[in-house]
Amino acid sequence: MAISRRAIVLAAGAVLLALVPPVAGLLNQPFYVDLFRRMMIFAIAALSLDLILGYGGMVSFGHAAYLGIGAYAVGILAFYGVDNGFLQWSVAVAASAVAALVIGAISIRTSGVYFIMITLAFTQMLYYLGISLETYGGDNGMPLRTRSQFAGLVDLRNPSAFYYLVLALLVLFLVLGRRLVDARFGRVIRAARSNEPRARAIGFSPFRYKLAAFVLAGGACGLAGALLANQTEYLTPDFMHWTRSGEIMFMVILGGMGTLFGPVLGAVVLLGLEDVLSALTEHWQIILGPFLVVVVLFAKRGLFGLVEGEVPRDG
């Protein structure tokens, strides 16, 4: 029952998202292609965080760091005239993964609130580093002269082509993520989360698995950063600000952590609410704030729990 309902919801979501460009074209409202593309980019970032947060129990309060590194990788290469998207995006993923390796290797030694704060500390350092990079605009950031070039395969200047590329990547990450968490790797991560000593006792080294998950998540978020730089055609250290890490985290919790699809929903709802409410009133935050509190208090498994219906949480 529950599984079929989940499958229906997932399929319906994918179809709805795929329909956005033609419907927007029909209504002569191309803006919605941009808005939903932005939502999906943040959905990829939230999804990558869910891997370590929802499944691994690692509450990283510094996930925006990889968003920033990915964006800066694209921006800096473009600054020196390298427009090749394959190269730019590979560098974005690799650089984020390396940063995640360093940050993770130090942070995973700690746990609980200490983990939250040490990941925050690293991101703050990167943020201040970004501000002091005068060549690349300091805190003003810099424009991305041209979107990444893919040798004529995909033209990112075409809004719909870019949209479907992001959608394809999102679906790919959802599928890969699902396979990963169902595989042995995912089971170890979850075991380490619920009972680390036991996982160690039955012969796993949770540290290495956790670190691997941390690096994977960092790399995936780096790709989201590369996408965001292309979406905005502008990049700033603001991508790494701690409030941005918070926003990504809220997308995960709001949507429902440990569900992979939940964070996607969370990203769509949070950014959608921002867009709608800020058009209604400049005091939109007084509505958004209590909404977040109410969701936490009453929808314990996030919004996805509401959509999916009542199922006991799997251990």
């Binding site: 419907v23 209504l27 409202q29 191309p30 803006f31 919605y32 941009d34 808005l35 932005r38 501000i131 002091s132 005068e134 605009g137 300091g138 805190d139 003003n140 950031g141 810099m142 424009p143 965001l228 979406q231 905005t232 055609e233 502008y234 700033t236 603001d238 991508f239 709802v269 959608g272 609410l273 867009d275 709608v276 800020s278 400049e282 005091h283 939109w284 935050q285 909404f291 109410v294 969701v295 208090l297 009453f298 929808a299 919004l303 509401l306």
Partner: protein, 405 residues
């Protein structure tokens, strides 16, 4: 844990239903399309309305509304539709809001924008679509120089001009041994380099502090130890309030005078009051600037909103007036963009700063004044013009702009 009571369970169900309803409502309102109105001028005004900078956004929005009142709710004789957007002080949000205005509302003009980084992200997107970008605050040097555009106009200034005026004034006074400070970000560096372009005396130290730093006592102690003849700072917004208050409390104000730009203005003065008394600023506009348009703007603003207007507001008021002059010149033919460019280049409207001309890069050539915080006869605090530092001052980047007209 206590067993959950049935009442709580009911409440949870109710709230769940409400959340579901909110979600559905959200989806519908996202795709709702407003009715398209025939021939109206559509202006998208982007500023920071929420968060700490929301107060500047309020000054700007109130002034836009006042301008529309003065124009009888018409722009260039046509009906007007104004769409306000909140950039949350973030470049990527600003860009998204601009996209929404261009593609959803199909505006003819985008206006506003407080921050240089938001402007740098938004202006190219707007001008690329051959839509007018009428800046009413940020004046980053890129847009004045190599990235200038036919479709970009500003009613404010180029960032460097104001500190240049202060540098000139302090150089003219023969001041030397000056201690200069700014936050460690791009605008801070621009301000100090603009200052140094005209100030030729000795600089004791050039100090950059952390962005949004609340406490300056450590830096103030360093100033006391260095014992300069004067201090020049750039601390906008809350940073300025904190620096100026703390400087006064340290008892240094009587010994070492403070000269500043964008630090003390009508937005921060109500929070500062006597702490800012006697401090110097340079600026292109002041509420006591004596011309017909300004007198009307200042007195009607006070009457309508009950507080003192600021330069942020005056620029935004001017922005709407500039748009009005352009639409009027082409007799409401919004497709005649070349005609509107020609019209705006004349700056043919009653500006709150008095008459001015546009430079080749569409930045104003305007006067800059020396201002001082004084106590008015009714016990209030205000900025008053002391003298003119620059007459018809041009910015330093216009020669890098390739436009010819």
């Amino acid at each position: 844990m206590l067993a959950r009571r049935d009442g709580e369970r009911d409440l949870e169900d109710t709230v769940r239903t409400i959340i579901r309803a909110v979600l559905v409502g959200l989806l519908t309102s996202l795709v709702a399309v407003g009715p398209a109105s025939a021939e109206a001028v559509k202006i998208g005004f982007i500023t920071s309305l929420s968060g700490p900078a929301g107060i500047i956004g309020k000054h700007m929005k109130d002034s836009v509304e006042l301008a529309l009142d003065h124009l009888g709710r018409k722009v260039g004789g046509l009906d007007v539709e104004l769409i306000y957007g909140d950039d949350q002080q973030k470049p990527d949000v600003g860009k998204q809001v601009a996209d929404e205005m261009l593609k959803k509302h199909k505006v003819h003009f985008v206006s506003g924008i407080i921050w240089s980084n938001v402007m740098l992200a938004v202006a190219p997107v707007v001008t690329r679509e051959k839509v007018f970008m009428i800046g009413t605050n940020a004046g980053p040097h890129q847009l004045a120089g190599k990235d200038c555009s036919e479709y970009f106009f500003t009613t404010s200034w180029q960032n460097d001009q104001t500190p240049e005026a202060m540098g000139k004034y302090m150089a003219d006074q023969g001041l030397t041994d000056v201690y200069i400070m700014a936050p460690n970000y791009a605008a801070g560096k621009d301000m100090l380099s603009g200052f140094k372009r005209y100030f030729k005396g000795r600089i004791v130290a050039e100090v950059y502090t952390q962005v949004n730093q609340p406490d300056y006592q450590a830096e103030i102690s360093q100033i006391r130890a260095a014992n300069p003849k004067a201090v020049f700072v750039f601390y906008p917004g809350a940073m300025g309030i904190q620096f100026v208050k703390q400087y006064a409390q340290a008892g240094l104000r009587e010994q070492i005078p403070v000269y500043s730009v964008y630090t003390i203005d009508e937005v921060t003065l109500p929070a500062l009051k006597e702490a800012a008394l006697g401090n110097w600023e340079t600026r292109y506009w002041s509420p006591d600037l004596n011309n017909e348009a300004n007198t009307k703007y200042v007195s009607d603003f006070r009457k309508k909103y009950g507080y003192a207007p600021s330069f942020y507001g005056a620029q935004s008021y001017d922005g709407i007036m500039l748009i009005d002059s352009a639409v009027r010149a082409v007799r409401g033919d919004l497709a005649n963009k070349a005609g509107m460019i020609t019209a705006m280049r004349k700056a043919d409207y009653k500006s709150t700063r008095g008459p001015y001309k546009y430079n080749v890069n569409h930045f104003p050539i305007e006067n800059f004044y020396l201002l001082r915080t004084v106590r008015t006869p009714d016990g209030e605090f205000a900025m008053q013009i002391q003298k003119t530092v620059f007459e018809s001052h041009k910015d330093a980047y216009a020669k890098e702009c390739g436009m010819k007209w």
